[in-house]
Amino acid sequence: MSELKTTYLYNFHTSQNAKMIDFGGWSMPFSYDGTLKEHNYVREDSGFFDVSHMGRLRLQQDQMELINSLICSELTSIENTKALYSLFLNESGNALDDVIFWKFDNDLILICNASNTEKITNHLASHNVNFDNLTSDTVLIAVQGKTAIQKLENKFNIPEKFSTGRIDKFTYARTGYTGEDGIEIMCSNDDAEELINYLITIDIKPCGLGSRDTLRLEGSLPLYGFELTEDISPVEAGLKWTITNKSNYLGKDKVDDQINSGKHKYLKRFTLNGRQIARTGTEVFCDNVKGLVTSGNFSPVLQVPIGFVLFESKPPVDLVNFDIRGNLLEGNLLKKRFLS
């Protein structure tokens, strides 16, 4: 086995007695104080996550149209102060990765999933997109929570939601992946400790990837490798709202076909009536339409099991059955998000 990669903040994590796990080849903190506690820090107060394992690439403004032709959203026409969630698609219209762009006057920062960084850099290179890989020279810290903005106001010029900012050594945007407000901050490794110490002094607590997962799930947000794969399109994943690209882009024909025909897989949110969690791979039956759970866990806010299920075709009703270790359990598909 090859040695696990570590972020620049590895020593900080171990000094805080974090429980470390192997996350796609990276040694990352799973939790410090316990997943549920950290979940509640973010929902009720605020927490920060080291997400430096995610890929960070600097792209050039003069290649915007080329980049735009590889994603399903409109990047060119939005202002140079905006952040954009989008997906790189393959020729079949399926997800290569879901990413965030931070747009600035002089450049763009692309943030991709850790497990897809190599795939995305190869993809960009094969389409003659230039990039400067910042991943190993910088850290990325997601500060999230009800009180995050209020606590950060003294040090950072807080941009509007889904907008970017830069202030001396920090590059950031008002984005995140927990369903709460907050900013994600990138800085060089040399400034990482200063940033972390500052966050701790303003009483923002370190949180691990365990709570990041329960938070994103409860926030109704898909995770690459589970809800999104190279076999699922944004139409199927319930991400039609990201399909705003008016120009031609890779995978567009397939995406348009799916929108027009309605014949495709369907990703749905569910709650379960019971005290068992339907985990990844659980079989689901909705009349004669079969599905598989992509992610399932406990919702600390709703206090019930929740998750995403991917159906082969459109489920005809909202009442579904889950085969959990041989027992059939009833559940409901939701039209709304888990948290309103």
């Binding site: 429980k19 799973f30 939790s31 316990g34 997943t35 549920l36 365990g210 329960t214 005290r275 068992q276 969690i277 985990r279 866990n297 406990f298 099991p305």
Partner: protein, 120 residues
Amino acid sequence: MSEKKYLETHEWYSLEENIITVGISDFAQGELGDIVFVTLPEVGEVFNKGDSIVEVEATKTVAEAYAPMNIVITEVNSQLETEPELINSDPVGDGWMVKAEVKEVDDSGMTYQEYEAFIS
């Protein structure tokens, strides 16, 4: 109460005359993460050694606790229905899971020192 013994499947038990108390080890609860649901057996249910007696749902994964010997359930810790986190906070005390009458004593579990060596 007798000294607690441990199994390779991470349960602990203590035996007093022919009544056994069963729970999961501190190591096991740490590996599972936050426990959110516990499915306990019914009083009177009969289990053979190695049968699954309790199902534990945690934020990280699901796990089962197995019968350390042939038993009949006499009492369950119903506090766990509303406070499953007791297994995290006090796995070898208030987080006990079941008490049972032993049909056939098999006191072959590991001592704590042996268990510690086993998990390290």
